[in-house]
Amino acid sequence: MTPQAHSAIPEAGDSRAIRDAELIARILAGERELFHELVRPYEKSLYFATFSILQNEQDAEDTAQETVLKALKNLGSFRAESKFSTWLVSIAVNEARARLRHARVLKFESVDESAPDEDGGFTPSVISDWREVPLQALERKELRELLQKAIANLPEMYREVLLLRDVEEFSIAETAAALGVREGVVKTRLLRARLMMQKVLAPQLASKGSGVFGLFRNRAGGSWF
């Protein structure tokens, strides 16, 4: 899916909301087994939300499990004016942050002070001409490691928005709701996160003779080259 296509699936979202509402009503009426079905479409989002904060597979998985149990316990307090997926991920974000605090590994970066010049002054990596990069094979494993490392190195506030918006493909509004910030904050952080990724990755991918888009051509389409 191209980044531009992110917000183009309202029908799917609507039908899922209806499905969720029906399941929730039945679960609250006593069919608790249906909770498996309710959370299944969102279990991947849960993992990436917790992983974006904790940066450790085991902790992320444990926290995702705790999130699901907490959601089951508190399902009665879910209000239908928000989306279930957003509610669930916001629990995951809060649980992961609490775990991080508890482990005393929270870096001393105040959410706002840690922003390296959030309102501008950032210079992307100006490579000669991306479209002329020759296509050679780059091991998918190597590519995956490059991307994961670049994301892992982002400050937490940027990693969160990038994972929710660009990996999990939440809308801007959903990302804002899940993180408990305004949409404008999400947009600002997203700009920073994306340009940081570009700055780190574009030269590396180009210097490797980036066959990366050969690997992904079916997904990316060929029109950009």
């Binding site: 899916m1 191209t2 980044p3 531009q4 992110h6 917000s7 608790r32 087994e33 909770f35 498996h36 959370v39 299944r40 279990e43 991947k44 993992y47 597979e57 998985e61 995702a64 499990q65 699901v68 149990l69 089951l72 501008g120 950032f122 992307p124 990596s125 100006v126 490579i127 000669s128 001409d129 991306w130 479209r131 998918r140 590519l143 995956r144 991307l147 994961q148 994301i151 990038l162 660009d166 990996v167 493909e169 801007i172 947009k187 997203l190 700009l191 994306r194 340009l195 990724m197 570009q198 990755l201 574009a202 991918l205 180009a206 990366v212 888009f213 992904f216 997904r219 990316a220 950009w224």
Partner: protein, 80 residues
Amino acid sequence: MVLNCKHVWEQISNYIEGDVAPELREAIEEHLAHCRHCAAVLDSTRNILVLIADDRTFELPVGYSDRLHARLQEEIAGRE
């Protein structure tokens, strides 16, 4: 409206989202048509986003879903 490179970079994320006013979009595209550096920044940013959205870039731990549902089942069964 005439934009310099910095203005374009500041709008790149919103531009990719399709979240810029028509007049601004036109000015950005006018700039991109004449500035190969900014065009390369846009292309590379966009392509990196395609790569990170690819299902093969971030995978769940093996057995994650099974363990999640096993733990959930314990909770559900325990309460009944």
